[in-house]
């Protein structure tokens, strides 16, 4: 039961395929609802202005920041979080496996959000180049990896290469790219 003072609404939505139906405080952000009321650990909080992307979830098939939406606004929607990525028996999916293989995470705090953004990016653009990958995850801040291995991990999944082939292709794609 919502336990914050103020108006309450009923909300019903699909979360990772399961139906969630319960009253929610109107003022509660979706991120707090997912974490505090539903006990999810995937979406995380890293800022208070909608810049860090740690809370990124899929809303009707598109990524959004769950700190920039009220829980009650999710009524009728289909929400997916990083918890939906691994198989039912717990195997990492291809993207997760690539992140592991390429050391694309360190502390792991931003990782849930980055995975969701990466997944959306690849759904939109199955063969992104390095610049498109960087643009695709631009709404997610990672402070550990410098993004280098994240770009590599996503690119490897998209293009199906590895090792020196992957390194050389990325090197070419990023050569002379004007940044910062």
């Amino acid at each position: 039961m919502p336990n914050s003072p103020g108006p309450i609404q009923d909300v019903e939505f699909k979360l990772n395929g399961d139906t969630i139906s319960r009253p929610v405080s109107s003022r509660q952000l979706l991120i707090h609802f997912l974490r505090d009321e539903l006990g999810l650990r995937g979406p995380k909080i890293g800022c208070d202005t909608g810049h860090c992307g740690a809370c990124t979830v899929s809303y009707n098939g598109r990524t959004i920041k769950s700190c920039m939406m009220l829980a009650v606004q999710a009524d009728g929607a289909e929400i997916a979080t990083v918890e939906s990525m691994a198989s039912e028996t717990g195997e990492l999916n291809e993207l997760q496996e690539s992140f592991r293989e390429h050391h694309a995470l360190q502390c792991g705090y931003c990782t849930s959000g980055i995975l969701m953004s990466s997944k959306f990016l690849l759904e939109r653009n199955p063969k992104p180049n390095a610049g498109e990958i960087r643009e695709g995850i631009h709404g997610n801040i990672c402070r550990c990896t410098g993004y280098v291995n994240i770009v590599k991990a996503i690119s490897a999944v998209a293009h199906g290469d590895s090792g020196s082939d992957l390194e050389e292709r990325l090197e070419k794609e990023q050569a002379g790219e004007v940044r910062a």
Binding site: S4, P5, G6, P7, Q9, S26, R27, Q28, L29, H32, I45, D48, T49, G50, G53, T56, Y59, R62, T63, I64, K65, C67, M68, M69, L70, V72, Q73, D75, S117, F120, L121, E135, G136, H138, G139, N140
Partner: protein, 285 residues
């Protein structure tokens, strides 16, 4: 990060939304929420009732007419602008601008109307609307009216809407052979931005509209526009004509940049926007 208590209502139709906005003091329309929710998180404003207009079909169409004019529903997202094929055809540059607005998550949620109504100096569409002489279609329970873009933006985070009024759609007049240029200098957020609408013929500029953004109120630069009209469409002539684009502006000063810098950059982005329009395919950000 935690909002103050607020009520929430999701009307099923535009008229229900207008009723709610009319009858509830302290009611405010909630579209994509990419600005409003932030403000509520910081408790920087008080709202009694959030009227969620994000799903109203009446606000969600993006129509391109035969004459090239476009009517964009206030609830159309940046991503929808970026991916609409008819819109890409008539407005390739604006489509690109939409495709690079903030980030993927914000593009999936943030709306054209919200961007305009919020009128944060860092928002990118107010100067677009002003440069294009867009027409803002506004409705309330008591009637509808059109507001010229140049009258719509009234100050820092403020607009010409009266209580109970809602921006429902915006008409972008046809380009009619003109091309759109858009350039900004970003320091995290944009510090200077210009939008130019330019018609050329035989290497000369026939007409130009220039709007400068990153200001409390985006402004047109008639003196620059006059100087450009009839001028040669080469970089040095354009540079000369746009050199006064920052004159008289009163930009904000903040942690990103001083007013002096922003003012100096106004003429830089003005020239680049004009050249962006002239070069056509040259659409570097």
């Amino acid at each position: 990060m935690l909002l103050a208590a607020v009520d929430y209502y999701r009307p099923q139709s535009l008229s229900e939304a207008l009723d709610a906005l009319d009858s509830t003091p302290g009611a405010r329309a909630l579209a994509g929420g990419q600005s409003l929710i932030s403000i509520l998180k910081l408790r920087a404003t008080t709202v009694e009732l959030l009227v969620d207009i994000s799903r109203l079909e009446e606000l969600r169409s993006l129509d391109v007419a035969d004459d090239g004019s476009v009517v964009i529903g206030a609830g159309v997202t940046y991503d929808e602008m970026a991916t609409s094929a008819p819109f890409q055809t008539v407005h390739p540059r604006l489509s690109q601008v939409a495709a690079h607005t903030v980030d993927a998550q914000v593009r999936n949620r943030g709306t054209f109307g919200g961007n305009l109504c919020h009128n944060d100096p860092i928002n990118n569409f107010p100067p677009v609307a002003v440069a294009m002489d867009a027409v803002m279609h506004v409705t309330s329970k008591t009637g509808s009216r059109d507001i010229a873009a140049s009258d719509f933006f009234t100050g820092y985070f403020t607009n010409a809407l009266n209580p109970g009024e809602l921006l429902t759609s915006v008409t972008l007049p046809p380009l009619s052979g003109r091309r759109l240029g858009y350039q900004e200098i970003a320091i995290g957020e944009a510090a200077a931005r210009a939008v130019a609408l330019v018609a050329t013929s035989n290497g000369n500029i026939e007409s130009a509209s220039i709007a400068i953004g990153c200001l409390p109120v985006p402004v047109r630069r008639p003196i620059v526009e006059q100087a450009l009209a009839g001028a040669s469409a080469d970089e040095s002539t354009v540079a000369e004509a746009t050199s006064s684009a920052g004159d008289g502006l009163e930009p904000i000063s903040d942690a990103d940049a001083s007013a002096d810098y922003r003012q100096a950059m106004a003429s830089v982005v003005a020239r680049r926007a004009v050249m962006d329009a002239i070069d056509g395919g040259h659409n570097a950000e």
